[in-house]
Amino acid sequence: METIYGFFFLMAGLLMLPMRRIKVNIALLSLQALFLSIIAFSEGLGSAFEWHSVAIGLLTLLVKVIALPLILLRLVNSLQADQEKDMSAGPIVSMTIGLLIVGLTFGYIVPVLLQDIRVGHDLLGAAVATILFGCFFVVSRRCVLHQVLGIVVMENGLFLSALAITGGMPIMIELGIFFDVLVGVLVMGAIIYKISDSFKSLDIKRLNRLRG
């Protein structure tokens, strides 16, 4: 069952790559986080009740599925920046690279490089691929808002890899991570306001001017 959730998790990330509209991307991100929380729930409720995994699932649901997308949506609305003008790499190229990443992860990285890790094979592949999606997402976009999304995607991937390998970290550390993500997005939101204020645009090409 978890493999199927992992598949959906992966697909949500992959679909984000060619999408232009920010609101669609935010919805996909929220969906991805939802599958993350479902994976956590299914680990907690599957064979025996584990309050730890359930707590993680609940937290994910609260922070990543509900709170973060809301914050981001408010940001997009107030900046009126739904439609992105330009991408550094076009949709088709992005999709191709995304598929290549999936191939690389499932064909080489997980079975060859990470062969010592025996547990949760499929989830681990989805997690590593999602981290790379996040990286590529950040690289390929010129809008600052998209970059924030990319970072959250990477974070989701990292979180899933932790979940897949060890079944989650101690609860205190998990709490810390959630808090980090929340504060990180808030701070990035504030800086985006600042950028849009001083550059009258969200295009990071404008930031080239800062070079000395």
Partner: protein, 660 residues
């Protein structure tokens, strides 16, 4: 008092000297005096510790606590450290007294900042030669470099000074990279950073690593010592610094590099192959000759002295190298004697070089110039300074019975011993050639100081600045007189000194006991002096003619300063002989106003080129700048690109490196 207490007192003195002047900065003079007096007190304490370390048979170990994991702030004073501590402290005491008066010409500057750097500089030099641990050594080594950098750039408002400081900083940092590499290679996977651990570990090292360590250390310490061709910072930094600082830098700071070479190559690294010694001797010979020939071409007194530092470092290295060759042949007795000769020259050079620099400082204090061509006739206006400068000049030119000769004489014997051992034809010839080079160096140094002394102190003043010169205040001369006295005394007790210094070598490398070292017959010179006095007395008694003072006869023309021999013309023959090395380019323009033969003017310019600059430093600098400019393109300023670099790196790491 136990050693720890004395050491803490020393630290407290210097720290107080660094910090308290800031509190008194309202009264600049008071701040300066306080800083200098604390430096004197601290250096005196260091002198006491050094003597204790030199005479005690067991090394003194001072533990000040733990600063880092497996790193103790630990100091270790054996004979070698003690000797260098004495050398540094001796020069520091006298220079600090001198600075009280001398720094007054910088009255408008931030003297508290100067005191801070000065005290820190002295302290770190002393800690470098006593550190017992490579981490501590590197920390203090770097602090010493930084403190001296700020002292060099003290008059930072002049562009030339800033440039010189930059060259100094770049060169010494490159040197530090090599020193750090050598030390860390030596430490390898040993259990600790202490010298004792390193010495124990070096025995098991393979030859290749040892050679690599040797080369790294030679480049690193060579940069600081100023061996040719790494010397280019020296003639720039020394004239830029205040003269009392140059005295310290040239007199003792360069010696910390010699300490590093001796400590690392002879003590820690164990006995190496004989080519190590050969390389050091050859570099020493090159440094000595290039240094002295370049010095001859200089008209700036401080730069002239700076080049002589290059020369003397070369002479010291010849001693150290000879000793290494003897060690590689397992002949500890001649090795110890050669090392002692090198160390003796370290002390002697520290003394006469700081004396000469301080005299130059006095000349600058009185005339505000250090250009020889502007001076002249100072012997009548500044008799005491002149005599002191002459003493230093005679010592550095290796004229008996002064101390420069004493150590060079021992070095001649050691070099001859090299050829006398008949190890191979190379060494039979090499030893003799080394001797010849040393003799040539001595002769050229003498020529150089005939120029320096003759042009700046004799004849008529060449400028208004020199005409208005007056003798410097007593507290400046007072601090130079002990140095001049030491020049003569050390020449006299050279036998005892050599015996004392040979014990240092025995402590470093246990071997058969050293027999009593004989030295040149000093009594002959005493007799010679005695004869002169008697002859002089006899002439007076027999009624020699009375002195008659009158004008110099100049064929009816009134003699003036323009007729005098200049420094440039004095050095012309040597410039001609060493043309391939110096590459002089001259330009002569003649002109006359109106009629020929009247108002006739000739302008003569001759510039000295530098092979090292033209063929090494300029191309290297150019290519570094060019390559950097090419690579600048990766700094596009575009955030996507930067993120892309990270992404690509991540993929590459995952694919290639995660396997291991």
């Amino acid at each position: 008092m136990n050693n720890e207490t004395v050491w803490i007192i020393l630290l407290v003195f210097f720290v107080a000297g660094a910090v308290i002047p800031y509190g008194l900065n309202k009264n600049r003079n008071l701040a300066l005096v306080t800083g200098c007096l604390f430096a004197v007190a601290g250096s005196t304490t260091a002198l006491w510790m050094g003597v204790r370390g030199l005479v005690s048979s067991d090394p003194i170990l001072i533990l000040m606590g733990n600063i880092l994991p497996i790193t103790n702030l630990e100091f270790y004073i054996d004979g070698l450290s003690g000797f260098f501590l004495i050398t540094i402290a001796l020069v520091s005491i006298l220079t600090s007294i001198y600075s009280i008066q001398y720094m007054k010409i910088y009255g408008q500057e931030n003297l508290a900042w100067w005191s801070f750097c000065y005290n820190l500089f002295l302290l770190t030099m002393m800690l470098v030669v006593t550190a017992n641990n490579i981490i501590v050594f590197l920390i203090f080594w770097e602090m010493m470099t930084l403190a001296s950098y700020f002292l060099v750039t003290f008059s930072f408002k002049r562009e030339q000074v800033r440039k010189a400081g930059f060259v100094y900083l770049v060169m010494t940092h490159i040197g530090t990279v090599f020193i750090a590499s050598a030390l860390f290679l030596l430490a390898g996977s040993q259990g600790g950073w202490n010298y004792a651990h390193l010495a124990a570990g070096s025995g098991m090292m393979n030859d290749q690593t040892k050679n690599l360590i040797f080369v790294c250390a030679l480049i690193g310490f060579g940069t600081k010592a100023g061996i040719v061709p790494l010397h280019i910072w020296l003639p720039q930094a020394h004239p830029a610094a205040p003269t009392n600082v140059s005295a310290l830098m040239s007199g003792v700071m360069l010696k910390t590099a010699i300490y590093g070479i001796v400590r690392l190559m002879i003590d820690l690294l164990g006995t190496g192959p004989s080519w190590w010694g050969a390389v050091i001797i050859v570099l020493g010979v090159i440094s000595a000759l290039v240094g002295v020939v370049s010095a001859l071409m200089e008209h700036d007194l401080k730069r002239l002295l700076a080049y002589h530092s290059v020369e003397n470092i070369g002479i010291i290295l010849m001693g150290v190298g000879t000793s290494m060759v003897f060690y590689s042949w397992s002949m500890p007795v001649p090795a110890a004697i050669a090392l002692a000769a090198g160390l003796f020259h370290v002390l002697n050079h520290a003394i006469f070089k700081s004396l000469l620099f301080l005299c130059t400082g006095s000349v600058y204090y009185a005339t505000h110039t250090k250009d020889i061509e502007q001076l002249g006739g100072l012997i009548k206006k500044m008799p005491v300074t002149s005599i002191l400068f002459l003493t230093g000049a005679i010592s550095i030119s290796a004229v008996p019975p002064f101390n420069g000769f004493a150590s060079e004489y021992q070095l001649y014997l050691s070099l001859l011993q090299l050829s006398h051992q008949h190890q191979s034809n190379f060494w039979v010839v090499g030893g003799i050639l080394g001797c010849t080079a040393l003799a040539l160096t001595g002769a050229l140094a003498a020529a150089c100081f005939v120029k320096a002394f003759g042009i700046s102190f004799l004849a008529l003043p060449r400028s208004a600045k020199a005409t208005g010169a007056r003798e410097v205040p007593w507290n400046m001369t007072l601090s130079m007189i002990p140095l001049a006295a030491l020049c003569l005394i050390l020449g006299g007790v050279s036998g005892q000194m050599m015996n004392l210094l040979a014990q240092i070598a025995v402590q470093l490398k246990a071997g058969s006991p050293i027999p009593l070292i004989g030295t040149y017959p000093y009594q002959i010179f005493l007799l010679f002096g005695f004869v002169i006095v008697i002859l002089f007395g006899l002439t007076k008694l027999s009624g020699a003619g009375k002195e008659r003072k009158s004008q110099t006869w100049g064929c009816g023309i009134e003699t003036n300063a323009e007729m005098e021999y200049t420094a440039a013309s004095f050095s012309q023959p040597i410039r001609r002989v060493y043309r391939p090395l110096l590459k002089p380019t001259r330009s002569i323009t003649t002109g006359f106003n109106g009629q020929p033969y009247f108002g006739y003017r000739i302008e003569f310019h001759e510039r000295i080129g530098s092979n090292f600059k033209d063929y090494f430093y300029v191309p290297v600098r150019k290519s570094v700048i060019e390559i950097s400019r090419k690579w600048q393109n990766i700094q596009s300023g575009n955030i996507n690109w930067y993120l892309g670099y990270i992404f690509v790196t991540l993929i590459i790491l995952l694919v290639f490196c995660a396997k291991g």
